[in-house]
Symmetry: C2
Subunit: 247 residues, 2 copies
């Protein structure tokens, strides 16, 4: 097993760059930290290199995974959290294909990684076949996003693309497109279930963009007693529960 002591090591300097989106894109790789998340990433064969602080680890690894022992300083340099990590894995990007299931969740410029992570957990729970993120929203490989999904993200199709052209495509494929809008929307409880559905929630501040609303079959609003804005993760959860798959 290799041992890397110095934070000046070229590979370490390179991998530490994966904390930035720009370099993740370049290397098509990202970092995963902590036993539980690495365990989940291993199930999908995403791990390429495992850094371990003590030279030992609890994982069952494929032969092609490189294991490297690293000093505390190196682990700290690779880590995104303030406490020293015992295990950090360099992982390759996930395959980006959206299966043609019956329920698809679309996020139009949702910015908070915690909100996106929460929505991904709900989408998996409620039998959605995938989540589509707009290009201007949070990065899929954002470390906080991965943590907030508790690993669900590794087992679930998530793509990032131009959502207007994706919606046109889904519409042609026979999906019923449900946007969310407080203006000119219909109460959620009156929206009928369809065989194939796309649900859309939007940005924390400004909601779903007009460009996207122009492409929907119907827009829903969640009935409230007092006018308050709901958290977007809660709004998405309520809608996905109502239209959950395989009822």
């Amino acid at each position: 097993m290799n041992y890397i002591d110095s934070v000046q090591n070229n590979r370490v300097k390179n991998f530490a760059k994966l904390k930035e989106k720009k370099y993740r894109e370049e290397m098509k790789s990202f970092l995963v930290e902590g036993e539980h998340l690495i365990e989940e990433a291993l199930k999908e064969h995403l791990v390429k290199i495992l850094f371990t602080l003590h030279g030992t680890h609890p994982f069952t690894l494929d032969e092609n995974i490189e294991v490297v022992q690293a000093s505390e300083a190196v682990m700290a340099k690779l880590s995104s959290t303030s406490s020293a990590a015992e295990y950090i894995a360099v992982c390759k990007y996930m395959p980006h294909q959206l299966p043609k299931g019956k329920r698809i969740m679309v996020l139009d410029d949702v910015q908070d990684p915690g909100n996106v992570g929460t929505i991904i957990r709900s989408a998996l729970s409620f039998g959605f076949s995938g989540v589509v993120l707009s290009k201007n929203g949070v990065d899929i490989y954002n470390e906080k996003l991965i943590r907030s999904t508790q690993g669900a993200i590794f087992h679930f199709p998530i793509i990032r693309c131009d959502i207007t052209s994706k919606l046109v495509e889904l519409k042609e494929d026979g999906y019923y497109i449900v946007g969310t809008s407080l203006q000119n929307g219909k109460p959620l409880s009156t929206i009928e279930e369809h065989e194939k559905m796309v649900l859309i929630v939007g940005n924390e501040g400004s909601g779903v963009s007009q460009e996207v609303l122009d492409l929907t079959d119907v827009n829903a609003f969640i009935e409230m007693v007092n006018f308050e804005s709901l958290n977007v993760g809660v709004a998405a959860g309520i809608m996905m529960y109502k239209f959950r798959g395989n009822k």
Copy 2:
């Protein structure tokens, strides 16, 4: 207008302690930061002292509110965020009474301030009359909690108490008590609406405690397609939407 330059000033040292729960309890006061939240606190007459960085402010203040200009160092000492605040208010504790409305949300040891904040926003939105927090959960005046409610917390009855004795009391008052539990629970969609209802969600890791489940009339689970744990804020939101007030 008084001007305080030094972080060694006794009042400043005293107020900075309000970042800790222990001292908030002692002084029955808490800090609120930023224009929007202070505006919301003012509506409920909670503000006692306003610190302003430039000596000016955009608020309409009652005569009894003291305004103090403070140096950047003082503002930084009072602030909970990394960026320098322009306005910080010292506020008095809110009145703690639970009105006898028809819908009450109970949180059994929910720990994350963001989750509690999200639930408070949903409770207000869905016409709940108040939220009850258990003693072991997060503090009502936690700065992150206040921020995540976006000020809703000031306009909404929230109490913190021993929830088992509170539940006994509510039951005697005729409330139908709905817990949440994956074991021995009934599907949420089969739970019938009652005139007066209490809904309970639990700790992020361990759910609702057995002690509390022993007091419920029924326990619900949210129907999922894949077994995943939902975020507690999402779970609470789905339940409150179903049983929202004044439909």
